[in-house]
């Protein structure tokens, strides 16, 4: 078994046995090699996203966990948020430059839930229109400048 498979199996076990609040792995979505996951997340109580349900798509390469997973919102409900483009791409530094093998699917999900929770106003990123029209399908091929860490 490769270290990617070993690691993902352990993460899956931990997340199905003891899932964090508002996060659950959609086990029907898993491919046999575990290279693609869908995770259901719920907006946290008393935030702008309370009661809303979203889906995160994860894709892992064989270099995981040394290479970050590709993570984006998928499905019919994409949250309206200043760091989430309407095509599901998320501007979050731990998904690219600040990724570390010490992070996991669980910690990524919790960071995204907390990113939603700290939002003060539901609005699209200022450059959403041009980004969505021209960007690559793979959000990991976008290099963002992470100027704003407040939201």
């Amino acid at each position: 078994m490769t270290s990617m498979e070993k690691r993902l199996q352990k993460e899956l076990q931990a997340m199905t046995k003891d899932p964090p609040a508002g996060v659950s792995v959609n086990t029907n979505s898993l491919s046999s090699s575990l290279s693609e996951w869908i995770v259901d997340i719920e907006g946290a109580p008393s935030t702008l996203y309370e009661g809303e349900r979203f889906q995160l798509g994860f894709k892992f390469t064989s270099r995981y966990p040394f290479d970050s997973p590709q993570v984006m919102f998928i499905g019919p409900n994409i949250p309206v948020h200043p760091h989430v483009y309407s095509n599901g791409h998320i501007c979050l530094s731990i998904l690219t430059e600040d990724w570390s093998p010490a992070l996991s699917v669980q910690s990524v999900c919790l960071s995204i839930v907390s990113m939603l929770s700290s939002c003060k106003e539901k609005k699209l990123p200022p450059d959403n229109a041009i980004y969505v029209r021209t960007c690559s399908k793979d959000p990991k091929k976008t290099r963002w400048w992470y100027h704003d860490n407040s939201v």
Partner: protein, 488 residues
């Protein structure tokens, strides 16, 4: 104490079963440079060995003392339990017991047990030797932890290491340190050896056994005394050897790996989550642990993506994968784990990085790549290796006139000198590949590295000099680039 003595006996039991009563052959060396080759059963005691050596050397058996890795070997111990095997060199010195005490009364107290053995032979013969147990507490503890790991079922060792688990439960620092052995071509447990720093004599007695890397690398941590009469040096010099018995001259074939250690606290690998031993422990505050298989993968992914960094003290190296501050692999030999071919690549990349970071350039002649440090004020760079003369600014063959003019001459081909068909064919290929490179790449505006863009946005980051630049403007990346043509 009781539990220590139990585990001691338990392990010796394992050892006896494993080794049987093989005859071993090794050298006993006196500080006077006399040495004797001894054939003896591995199960024989140190006392038996003394009798054999006394006969050969014409000395009184009671006056002979053996030293291995800084520890004096006690009469009641068997050779195998002391870790003596074929090809071991056992150091010896000869001194009447009374003189030993006089020579250094303070130290002798620590080793008092030894002197006592001579006086209470009866107790020794009974097979119960309290003194031995007392003076070996340090090592007994070490053996305990070794055996716990070995016996616990859920510890999956790296296979080649695991097969040595019996050997690794040996005393005298066997399982504390690891080396990369060039003869075995892999990580091996290390034998710890030492000599007197002053006179290089191997019969040097240490006040305590080393327990960590600091102990063996610092010159102040552990003291002792040399058994050579006129030498009053108090400092030992430690070195590590592969525990495998390699014949002949093995100097320089084993390099110490300071970050590789037994996983005593049974910490999960940061990457795959398995609990294995040995592991590599990063020097960060929390001591992140990575298994050797994942470390290999971490290195090879980082090498392929040129993510190693040039560190002013530790050279071309990798940080703790969790990004902990100031936590780097501090010794480049750990990258031998990449395998021969990739280790060569690692060394080449490291040398290139060093040259580029220190204001040098690489010879642009095909297949050369020699590191060159241009002198100020001249555009002409001559490679000392291949003699190729290049232009510092455009990194092409040296030319007169501006770099731009020359580029268009090369690409448009405007010479008509007669050449052979083969040369013409070859030149044609080279011209085609040069054209292809020109068409598909752009040069980093900072270091001129040819860069290919394989999709994604226009925001480029040079993998060589880390300059952030715009694919469209071929200039450093700005807010305007992001607003106007982030994706073209």
């Amino acid at each position: 104490m009781a539990s220590n003595s139990l585990s001691n006996q338990g392990l010796e039991g394992i050892f006896d079963d494993h080794c049987g009563s093989n005859t071993i052959c090794f050298a006993v060396k006196f500080s006077s440079n006399r040495s004797y080759v001894v054939d003896i059963s591995a199960g024989d005691s140190i006392k038996d060995l003394k009798a054999v050596v006394a006969r050969k050397a014409g000395l009184c058996a009671d006056d002979i003392h053996f030293v291995l890795a800084g520890q004096r070997l006690q009469d009641c111990k068997s050779l195998q339990s002391c870790g003596v095997g074929s090809h071991t060199t056992l150091h010896a010195f000869c001194r009447p017991i009374g003189n030993v005490s006089k020579a250094s009364p303070k130290t002798e107290q620590d080793y008092g047990s030894d002197v006592d053995h001579f006086n209470y032979n009866g107790e020794e013969d009974s097979g119960i030797c309290k003194e031995c147990i007392c003076s070996e507490v340090n090592f007994a503890e070490q053996r305990c932890s070794g055996s716990r790991l070995k016996e616990s079922q859920d510890v999956e060792g790296i296979q080649d290491i695991n097969s040595y688990s019996c050997e690794m439960s040996r005393p005298l620092g066997y399982n504390r340190f690891f080396v990369y052995c060039k003869l075995c071509d892999g990580i091996r447990p290390a034998k710890l050896r030492l000599v007197c720093k002053g006179c290089c004599n191997g019969a040097f007695l240490v006040d305590r056994g080393p327990s960590n890397w600091q102990d063996i690398s610092s010159t102040t941590s552990i003291t002792g005394r040399c058994t050579v009469e006129k030498c009053d040096c108090k400092t030992p010099r430690f070195y590590l050897r592969c525990f495998e018995r390699h014949e002949g001259d093995v100097d320089g074939t084993a390099v110490a790996l300071k970050h590789v250690n037994m996983n005593r606290r049974r910490v999960d690998c940061i990457a795959c989550g398995d609990v294995v031993s040995p592991v590599l422990i990063f020097p960060c505050e929390v001591g992140h642990v990575i298994c050797l298989a994942c470390f290999r993968q971490y290195c090879s992914v980082s090498l392929n993506e040129r993510r190693f960094t040039e560190h002013e003290r530790h050279g071309y190296t990798l940080p703790c994968p969790a990004g902990c501050p100031e936590s780097y692999i501090e010794e480049s030999h750990h990258f031998l784990l990449l395998g021969k071919e990739n280790y060569e690549r690692y060394k080449n990349f490291g040398a290139e990085e060093y040259v580029l970071q220190n204001g040098g350039m690489l010879c642009p002649a095909p297949g050369c790549g020699m590191g060159l440090f241009p002198e100020n004020g001249t555009r002409l760079i001559k490679c000392g290796e291949c003699q190729f003369e290049s232009c510092k600014d455009c990194k092409k063959e040296y030319h007169t006139g501006s770099c731009h003019e020359v580029e268009s001459i090369i690409l448009n081909g405007s010479t008509n000198i007669g050449i052979s068909d083969e040369m013409a064919q070859r030149a044609c290929w080279e011209m085609q590949s040069m054209n292809l490179i020109e068409e598909t790449t752009k040069s980093c505006p900072n270091c001129r590295s040819k860069t290919e863009r394989n999709g994604g946005c226009m925001h480029m980051v040079c993998s060589r000099c880390e300059c952030e630049w715009c694919w469209i403007c071929v200039k450093p990346w700005t807010r305007d680039c992001m607003a106007q043509h982030w994706f073209g």
